[in-house]
């Protein structure tokens, strides 16, 4: 048992600050003295620890002292065999997870509603995705989790797959049957990976859906900066006992900065301490807030703040109650409209709005009065703006036809083609649609008439479409010739 009250990295920074070392190294602002405006804006305290790696501060690329100790403390707190502090966002943790598991041509089973960092990592390493349809709740217009039978089918159809990846939970709080999927992966000698960008709290709260590493997952990317309270862009990659952590470090170092920010690193150190010591209380409070808010919002009429009643034993195996998602369709407003009204008229910023829902992110930093403000603002919006219920968002799942690996398609010779002329071609790029946050196309997939219609529909409905070079999504890059390497 390590002493979780310790913060070795932060203490070392504090020592450097008090030693008043004369800096003839980078960063050139020299503890803020060289950039007065920046120091005024961010504060002297902050700039005085924006330092470079040095003897007493260890080095993230090759940690042997205080960073290593801080990572060991984190590993213990999360129940992992090894924890890596990450400074390139959870995107970098996801990337490292994929790159250290898969090589060119290897297959991975994953839900279609993966974060695009997963598919981008495949562009880098040449792995081939085998997508599983996340079921969709048509009433709410959200993607759910993968049903066990559909994962099992994919495993049986692709026995040579190297890994299974899940979201735990999804943005909306939906969890799959993690222990059962883990057993399936183990039985078929596949690595079990988890994107837990929205799941830090699962490791510390009581009575929450099971956290992946605790259920025996091999690797997990955990966004500490979301529910864990660390600084934006800081994150962690957790590894189980069967993963060669030294190899993972080599992979991380391929793309990781050699000037890792100590502001980010110390925020991970301090947040880990806070979670280890107070996590249970913190997430008890957050859960209480969420339950209260949900009850009050459901009392307003028309709004639907959904929760555990969605659990169906399969595509919704469990639900993360701290996620306060509110369906707005019966108020006659799109989620994105409510999102805008909250921001513009009520000075309330929620995490996102999609066609049918808003998501309010609750955390340790919330206060009762702010929860009351959110509830009352929703009440006032209903009073002022309620309309007839609009047509439902039809987000039918289109099974992708993967022709080339994302890497092959991405690096192929390609021709920019008007959208309507793309039918039958193979896309060399992504088309993401928010909502519902599921890729319409990933590199290497065939463009069908149905997909073109879907892109037009999503554009008309005001979804945000991202990915292609042509930012108006009127043209797509279509593969015209494939190099031999894929």
């Amino acid at each position: 048992m390590l002493d979780q009250t310790k913060t070795p990295l932060t203490d070392a920074l504090e020592a450097v600050r008090s030693e008043r070392i004369v800096p003839f190294d980078v960063p050139g602002h020299k503890r803020g003295r060289g950039n007065k405006l920046l120091t005024e804006f961010l504060g002297e305290q902050c700039l005085s620890v924006d330092v470079n790696s040095m003897k007493s501060l260890d080095n993230l690329c090759h940690p042997v002292s205080v960073i290593r100790e801080a990572e060991m403390l984190a590993a213990e707190a999360f129940g992992a065999a090894h924890a890596f502090f990450m400074v390139g966002g959870t995107t970098s943790a996801v990337q490292a997870m994929i790159l250290s598991t898969l090589k060119s041509g290897d297959k991975i089973i994953l839900p279609r509603n993966v974060h695009q960092s997963v598919i981008n990592a495949m562009v880098l390493c040449g792995a081939v995705p085998v997508y599983v349809n996340p079921e969709t709740d048509l009433n709410l217009g959200i993607a759910l989790g993968m049903s066990f039978t559909s994962i099992e089918r994919a495993v049986l159809e692709t026995p040579d797959a190297k890994a299974i990846l899940i979201n735990n939970p999804t943005y909306y709080g939906i969890c799959s049957d993690v222990p059962r999927i883990r057993a399936l992966a183990q039985a078929h000698h596949m690595r079990f990976l988890a994107d837990e960008a929205h799941g830090t709290h699962l490791y510390f709260g009581k009575g929450m859906p099971v956290a992946a590493i605790r259920a025996g997952a091999d690797m997990s990317a955990v966004s500490l900066h979301k529910s864990g309270g660390s600084l934006t862009q800081s994150s962690m990659l957790l590894c189980g006992p069967n993963v060669n952590a030294d190899y993972v470090r080599q992979i991380i170092n391929i793309t990781q900065t050699t000037s890792a920010s100590y502001l980010l690193l110390s925020s991970l150190d301090i947040s880990r301490r806070n979670l280890a010591l107070h996590g249970t209380d913190i997430f008890h409070k957050v859960t209480k807030f969420a339950r209260y808010a949900r009850e009050e919002i459901n009392d307003l009429g028309d709004y639907y703040a959904f929760s555990k009643e969605l659990i169906n034993g399969d595509s919704v195996f469990n639900f993360d109650e701290t996620k306060l998602s509110v369906n707005t369709l019966n108020v006659g407003l799109a989620g994105i409209e409510v999102y805008d009204l909250l921001r513009d008229k009520y000075d309330i910023q929620v995490e996102f709005g999609d066609l049918g829902n808003i998501l309010a992110y609750l955390s340790v930093g919330d206060k009762s009065k702010h929860i009351e403000r959110l509830i009352s603002a929703l009440s006032d919006i209903r009073r002022l703006y309620k309309r007839e219920r609009k047509g439902l968002w039809e987000s039918e799942y289109i099974t992708p036809e993967v022709v080339y690996s994302p890497q092959t398609a991405f690096y192929a010779k390609k021709i920019s083609t008007p959208l309507d002329a793309c039918e039958g071609g193979i896309s060399a790029e992504f088309v993401m649609s928010y909502p519902p946050g599921i890729p319409i196309l990933a590199p290497g997939e065939r463009v069908t008439n149905k997909i073109i219609q879907y892109i037009r529909y999503a554009k008309e409905k005001g979804c945000t479409l991202t990915g292609p070079e042509a930012m108006d999504i009127e043209r797509l890059n279509i593969v015209s010739g494939v190099e031999a390497h894929g």
Binding site: E296, Y346, D347, K369, I375, S376, A377, S379, R383, L384
Partner: protein, 284 residues
Amino acid sequence: MDDLWFSEYHTPDVRFSVRVSAQLHQEQSEYQRISVYLSPEFGRFLTLDGVLMLTERDEFIYHEMITHVPMAVNPNIRSVLVFGAADGGVARELCKYDTIETIDIVEIDKRVVEVSKKFMPHTAKSFSDPRVTLHIMDGLKYIRHNKEQYDLVIVDSNDPSGPGEVLFTKEFYGGCHNALTEDGILVSQHDDPFYLKDQILLRRAHVRCGSVFPINKVYQAHIPTYPTGHWLFGFASNTLHPVNDLDAARWNALQIQTRYYNTNLHIGAFALPNYVEEALQKDE
């Protein structure tokens, strides 16, 4: 006497200080730090999170101006809802009207009520009036669940950065609109107009009232212990104009004893300095 002073920063560069002869009470409640001091000039005074709320010497000005102005415009007011007002001063003034039947007071911090009862008995005396009902809860929650209709809503809130924050929001004014009868009046305190940070709050409160009520006016009073000593209130209604609908003769016939308010002052209070009028019109 020891050289003890209570100081409040009215801006980061302006400090208002009162000599203190004793600190009578200090506690941290669930919501804020509550202190009571004794001073040679102002008698006892109450502070919340270091912000002066009321003093024995000048509280009458604030409490008279936030109650008698609407009461003189509509003497038929029967039911009143008051937010904040934990010190009881608003209730004390309202209780001077025999015609008022119910006074609901909504305050989030019951400790402020208890401290006021103990240390400010003159202000808090009306909590025992049978017409007064105290609801200890969040103001937004109360107004969201409220099904009653009130003839008058008074927002006696303090600092918008403290627990009173909710009482400055658009959602709150929307809720007040729902809770008022057709001829209902909303009176709320609007801060001082002089310091820029306060002027921003004033404008925001004014615009928010205006987005909900067609009649939306501002009036003033001199309160020595509040920042700049020049304090503003908002008067908002669907139907009643604060000056045109003033029934001075009827109010004077009630023979209510006041030390600051009178019906001539009522009219004058709505005549604002030019820079204040300009500030109010900026966002309109």
